[in-house]
Amino acid sequence: MRTLSWLGLVVALIALPAGAQQPYYAGKTVEIIVPFAAGGGSDIDARFFAQFFERHVPGNPRVLVRNMPGGGSILGANFFAENARTDGTQLLATSASTIIPYILGLPQVRYDPARWELIKVNGVGGIVYVSPRTGVRKPEDLARPSERLVYGGISATGLDLVTLLLFEALGLDVRVVMGFEGRGPARLAFERGETNIDYQTTPAYLSQVVPLVQQGKAVPILSMGFVNEKGVMVRDPSAPDLPSAYEAYQALFKRKPDGLMRWKAYQSMVAAAFTFQKALWAPAGTPPEALQALRTAVDRMRQDPQFREQGKQVLEGYEVLRGDLAKSAVLRATRITLDVKKFITDLLRSKYQVRL
């Protein structure tokens, strides 16, 4: 792959003098397929990036977002895998709901990200907070809350899988109530006092939960953690004051979790579902000059002050990584070992009645 992109660069350089007036994308229209309904997090992310791709891809193509919801994003991703144009004018935006079924090997999945070209990836963080009623102030209190912890989730096979694995990794006794429409309604249930432990992704945490923290109605405990390029879990860059789940484990058990199966399962899912949540892909066979143009645009974006200013809320302070540099890390995150997979399926079957 690396050689291929070098080759692309060489080709682009050779082609440069001849076609200097006519960049690859001049006059073209790029379509970003978002396999989710309009208005969701992935849609917002894709629409945000679309305008900056328009500005920074040489030739200034039109960049449109096309929502193809259905099957919890599997339908749109399958469509992309089977029908996408390979001239660089069709891209796919994926999220955790696209990657988790792939990792778990669900039979409906007919796509394989390993065969695609990664354009960009950016992460999302998660902050876990509790109600003051629980008496929990810091991670070590989680083992002895003054009332039973109750969590409101959406569905065990979606992003909540990571939360379930977190509870498992930390050995918490939590009553999990699935069935909320989204994290927003689940947060309302927390505010109403129906649940007492909750997590939100960083932008929602900053806008909706921080005011509650200031009023003494919520206590932040830990961040889901961020898996760096060495595969080590560190503190969330947008919540540097909060201990990561890794530190929380150490506080609770006075030892490091490395090597434990339940920890391995949690950390690999954090990487796949949070650290590399919002990815943009081109299909295999996309010409190198197209990939080059798109990836150059990612670099240019990162320098654009307006991108950084407006990106504060959308990107939550996480870096956007250029696809060719991040691809191996992203793909590594999607490949979980068989024992981890078995651990996850066993957990889902025994505790949450999920048949995979």
């Binding site: 309904a37 309009a38 208005g39 969701g40 849609d43 917002i44 629409r47 945000f48 305008q51 449109l64 977002v65 096309r66 193809m68 919801p69 259905g70 099957g71 919890g72 599997i74 339908l75 399958n78 469509f79 409906q108 109750v150 409101g152 569905s155 065990a156 096979t157 109530v177 699935m178 069935g179 909320f180 429409e181 989204g182 927003g184 309604p185 947060r187 309302l188 249930a189 505010e191 109403r192 129906e194 649940t195 932008p203 929602a204 900053l206 806008s207 909706q208 005011p211 509650l212 200013e309 407006q310 504060k312 809320q313 959308v314 889902l348 949450y352 009645q353 999920v354 048949r355």
Partner: protein, 649 residues
């Protein structure tokens, strides 16, 4: 209040903001006219422009569009009987029969005026409720939300029609249809038949387009002639204005129901509008007139559906929990400006909120004025022979259906639901309860499980004051009806004895569906099975009872809703006439699979214009060409997608 005034001054004195507001309203009105397209398409069209404007102008633009999409979706609902959106179904149920009587102008005028007043009440309500909304919204826990959905379902009880058994069974069909897809409380996908397309459930817009829109268009094609059967009633718009004044309290009640349905999570816009309709029927003494073109059935829902949009802004702005996709997109645009919806928006961006409120009010005024001015001209469309205007309507519906997921399944679902809708229509199965059941099925099941799982001890939720009050609201009308029934018992009831006819086929088919669902659902996980099993079991009981009545010849005549006086022979003749049209629509979709939408549309339109409308070859070709160009232009301007065929066309 100072902020409210200064925001108003800013808005009205800034040509950019005012201009963007008007532009947004224009797009909203245009998109609203197209059946099946609404706020999502309007906001999606405007979004690229919004991102280049300052936040105030951008918000004025988006609010302008969202405020009026439900004003203009009245046109197709009334004139053609194809609801512009699911929330326009009550307007269609009452407005379309009025149009057939030649009272289209009256229906439209009443609809626009109530829309306007509803929108203004919504704007005022929004202004007043901003300081109070947070504690009020939080006081509704999961048990209260569950009972609100129960209340919504019980409102369907007012729409049962002449044969209550059929109405109940139809409501259960809706509930069952709503269980297709992922179960809220268990990791199981139900009734997907191995199709990934069905794993997210059936789309509401497709249900409205198919069960109501396509069914109505088919019936109009089969009947031939113009929509209006009388032309002697004049323009009548002044009559519509007087209707609204006469029922001014109904406008207020409709707007309040709509606004609260928008403010509270769980209920949703469509159910709010239908609840306003159900309330109107329940509160009227002469309820037999509903469903046959009663203007009261237009006034309350129209007031409600504009107020819903205002109410929806409360959870979006104050909690960051948008009630619908359009407001979610609005929220995404705000994020890009660094404006975070949430508790702090009231302190940090109050001027922005009031810009939204005033834009909302102004757009309602503009939208209603434009549509009002256009309504006498539009009403004349009902005098044109229907086959001349059918092709663009069918094409627009197919195009809209495909925008839902852009999967071929959208088109198949549209035609399948259209066939089902037509069957229900001609055999006199009320479709109002079906729609209520469908939209509330998921929230009902979701909040039931959330309630019992979050409150493991029944007394913890059953005795909450809100729950007790809502339970009384649910039970009281039924108790009242039981008392009335007890009083009139023993009086002989007139029942026509009828022969078992073809209509029993529909009853048998519905019974088979319930039996199949009951049989299949028993194999689901317990938490996924409860809802479909109980719905299907109740459905089996009611449908079997209905079938028994029909076989014993005790059921009243199966009648087409539109033609209550027609004899069974005429009905049979019309159904036979409808078969070729339904077949042609199925062929249209099948051909699309091979050659893509553009060519398939051209072929279907050409066939229709030559064989049905009997236009000359020249006229047919010119009309078809114009249609195809219009289709392409529309897709280009609105950024819509046209399905391509396997042959690569």
């Amino acid at each position: 209040m100072a902020e409210a005034l200064s925001a108003a001054v800013e808005l009205f004195s800034s040509p950019t903001r005012l201009g963007m507001l008007l532009l947004g309203s224009g797009v909203g009105l245009l998109v609203g006219i197209l059946p099946g397209m609404g706020g999502i398409v309007a906001v999606a069209v405007l979004l690229p422009f919004m991102l280049k404007l300052d936040p105030f102008s951008a918000l004025a633009m988006a609010t302008g569009a969202l405020a009026v999409v439900h004003t203009s979706d009245t046109i197709t609902s009334v004139l053609i009987g194809a609801p512009g959106s699911a929330a326009a179904v009550p307007t269609m149920m009452e407005g379309h029969p009025m149009a057939r009587r030649g009272e289209a102008a009256r229906a439209l005028a009443a609809a626009y005026l109530s829309s306007l007043v509803g929108g203004l009440i919504g704007a005022i309500g929004l202004t007043l409720s901003i300081p109070l909304a947070r504690p009020v919204v939080l006081s509704f826990g999961s048990p209260e939300l569950f009972l609100l959905t129960v209340l919504g379902v019980s409102f369907a009880g007012n729409l049962l029609g002449k044969e209550p058994l059929k109405g109940l069974a139809a409501g259960l069909v809706g509930l069952l249809l709503g269980t297709v897809g992922p179960a809220p409380a268990a990791a199981e996908v139900r009734f997907a038949f191995g199709q990934v397309y069905l794993t997210d459930g059936i789309d509401l817009a497709l249900v409205a387009l198919g069960i109501f829109g396509l069914a109505e268009v088919t019936s109009l094609m089969a009947r031939g002639g113009a929509v209006a059967q009388r032309t002697d009633l004049g323009t009548g718009w002044w009559e519509g204005v007087r209707d609204v004044w006469r029922h001014r309290w109904l406008v207020l009640r409709g707007a309040l129901i709509g606004m609260w349905a928008g403010v509270l999570p769980a209920i949703g816009a469509t159910a709010g509008t239908l609840m306003a309709y159900g309330h109107t029927v329940a509160a009227s003494r002469d309820r037999e007139r509903f469903g046959k073109g009663d203007v009261r059935g237009i006034i309350a829902p129209e007031a409600a559906n504009n107020a819903v949009e205002a109410g929806d802004l409360v959870p979006t702005l104050l909690f960051g929990v948008p009630g619908g996709a359009p407001s979610a997109m609005l929220m995404g645009a705000l994020l890009a400006y660094g404006i975070l919806p949430g508790p702090r928006i009231v302190t940090d961006h109050l001027d922005l909120i009031y810009t939204v409120v005033w834009s909302f009010a102004l757009a309602n005024l503009v939208g209603a004025a434009v549509m009002f001015a256009a309504s006498p001209a539009l009403a004349r469309l009902t005098y044109v022979p229907f086959y001349r205007i059918a092709p663009p309507i069918v094409l627009a519906m197919v195009l809209a259906a495909y925008q839902e997921t852009q999967h071929f399944g959208d088109l198949v679902s549209l035609v399948a639901l259209g066939v089902v809708g037509y069957l229900l229509k001609v055999t006199g199965w009320p479709r109002g309860p079906l729609l209520i059941g469908f939209v509330l099925s998921n929230p009902l099941e979701r909040y039931y499980f959330l309630t019992v799982n979050l409150y493991p001890q029944p007394q913890d939720w059953l005795l909450r004051p809100g729950v007790v009050v809502l339970t009384l609201l649910v039970v009281a009308p039924f108790a009242w009806r039981a008392v009335r029934w007890w009083r009139v018992r023993g009086q002989p009831r007139q029942e026509e004895r009828t022969r078992v006819g073809a209509r029993a086929v529909t009853t048998v088919a519905i019974l088979a569906v319930f039996l199949y669902a009951w049989w299949t659902a028993r194999g689901f996980l317990p938490d996924a099975a409860l809802m479909p099993v109980s719905v299907a079991a109740a459905g089996v009981v009611f449908t079997a009872a209905q079938l028994a009545r029909e076989l014993a010849g005790r059921a009243s005549l199966a009648v087409d809703e539109d033609e209550p006086d027609s004899s069974p022979q005429e009905l049979g003749k019309r159904v036979r006439q409808a078969v070729p049209y339904l077949a042609s629509l199925a062929a249209y979709v099948a051909v699309t699979w091979f050659v893509g939408l553009v060519w398939a549309s051209a072929l279907w339109a050409l066939w229709f214009l030559r064989r049905v409308a009997r236009l000359s070859w020249t006229a047919s070709v010119v009309y078809t060409l114009a249609l195809v160009l219009g289709l392409l232009a529309l897709a280009g301007v609105l950024g819509l997608h046209l399905p391509r065929g396997r042959l690569g066309l």
